[in-house]
Amino acid sequence: MRHRKLSQYGQQIFFVGPAILFFTVVMIIPFIMGMYYSFTDWNGVSGEVAWVGFDNFTKIFTNDPDFWNSFWFTVRFTVLGVILINVVGFFLAYFLTKPLKSRNVLRTIFFMPNVIGGLLLGFIWQFIFVKGFATLGDLTGWSFFQLPWLGTETTGFWAIVMVFVWQYSGYLMVIYIASLTNVSKEVLEAAEIDGATHFQKLRSIIVPLVMPAVTVGLFLAISWSFKMFDLNLSLTQGGPFKSTESVAMNIYNEAFLNNRYGLGTAKALLFFVIVAIISLIQVKVTKSKEVEA
């Protein structure tokens, strides 16, 4: 055993050094490079990089309908997806904190889609939409199953929403279960004695007390749906007619299919600003709604 004391400086290097090194190489440097590239016409291949000022941003704002279509898709998808997975997740949690015999098995099942990556899930659902639903349509005669799910713009949108809800509700269920089990039994019993109905208890006691979990749930849901890529890629490839192309996918295509790296990084930077603003607003708003028991 060595008794020599490690200097403060040495300790800082030893403990924090590795983290700083990886963080700098993978996050800080690329972030700064990205800011530079977004003002250039770099194509990713040639060594020639010319400074073009705000040209890329002007182009995005005035002459890039595909980007704004993908943005509009992402916004519509995010609003719907965030609401649905939080509502479904909350109610799964609410009912699975009741004394049901099968609740542990049910929790396991509802969470399961979440451990599988979006890419593989998208492929599985592609089969279900194309073949599985067709068979169910023949068996039941329900028109719901006979729709061309991945073939039109409207149904394609709803197909992605459906898979997204299936995939992520279970995760939020886990968060809401953790929060619901912390809601004090005494408060609920007191309300019951005062003659509160189930709905009144839910609305006036439970929902306000789980607001911290709602903050987390919304934050996670927004970041999942805003950054979605894998699921679109494997389920619809952004189609039909780019109608389900997300912003993340548009950036990817701009850089790696069109070889316009400069324009791609400009979009990526803009994307960051939008995500940051939305996340900040959301956390501020829901934090203000949290109450103490």
Partner: protein
Amino acid sequence: MEAKYRGRNVILEIVMVLIALVFLAPFYFLFVNSVKSFGEILSDAASWPSQFNWDNYSKAWELARFSEAFRNSIVITVISVVLITLFSAMAAYRMVRSDSKFNRVLLMLFVMSMVVPFQTIMIPVLQVVNGLDINNSIWGLLLTNLGLSLPMAIFLFHGFVKSVPLEIEEAATVDGCNPVRVFFSIVLPLLRPMMMTIIVLNTLAIWNDYLLPSLILQKPSLRTIPLATYSFFGQYTKQWDMALPALAIGILPIVAFYLLLQRYIVEGIAAGSVKG
């Protein structure tokens, strides 16, 4: 009153079980059709298979080069997760115990970076990987995995280390333990609950990741499971008797991992989100 309450729970139970069956339906479709012949899949995708063609699986396994993909996925996930957990615990420990201005700014940078979408740094990070000449190698992916995952892990550990009492460490220091030993033999074991969270979250994320590995690992021999599945699916689109067994093989390990460790996984996620 009692009886009515119980009756209501029975109905609720039945409804929830039915919803759970709908949740499981995709897995049913996947597995029954993965062992059918191509003709049978086309004629009826919902029925139980008339015979089990297990060689669909062996064919898909061979053609998609799954042996390599499994090895790559396991190597990448295990090394990344071990290093992420270790380095983030070390950093968070020091940052809590030595509350300097530098460390406070650093924590703020880590937290801010968690909002940055991967797409924002995706293009330049490839330049960095190319510049270091570690593209098309597992090293390139390990480096980026670490850089991308450390901030969140440090943030989670940072909140947790604060709750570890200082007295034990002080006693050990008086007994002549140096800080490195104090950390590894006393602090690290105390961090176990949060460690589980970090291991679980990162294992799932790294095992399932498609985009980043697809950009860095282009050589077929380096493909991970999602990459192998993607390229296989591209070649055998609509050839469901090949594609479905490949998908089933692809999801099996992570589902098994989940079912074996589900208690830790669910607890880990709940704990991680309360902090976040």
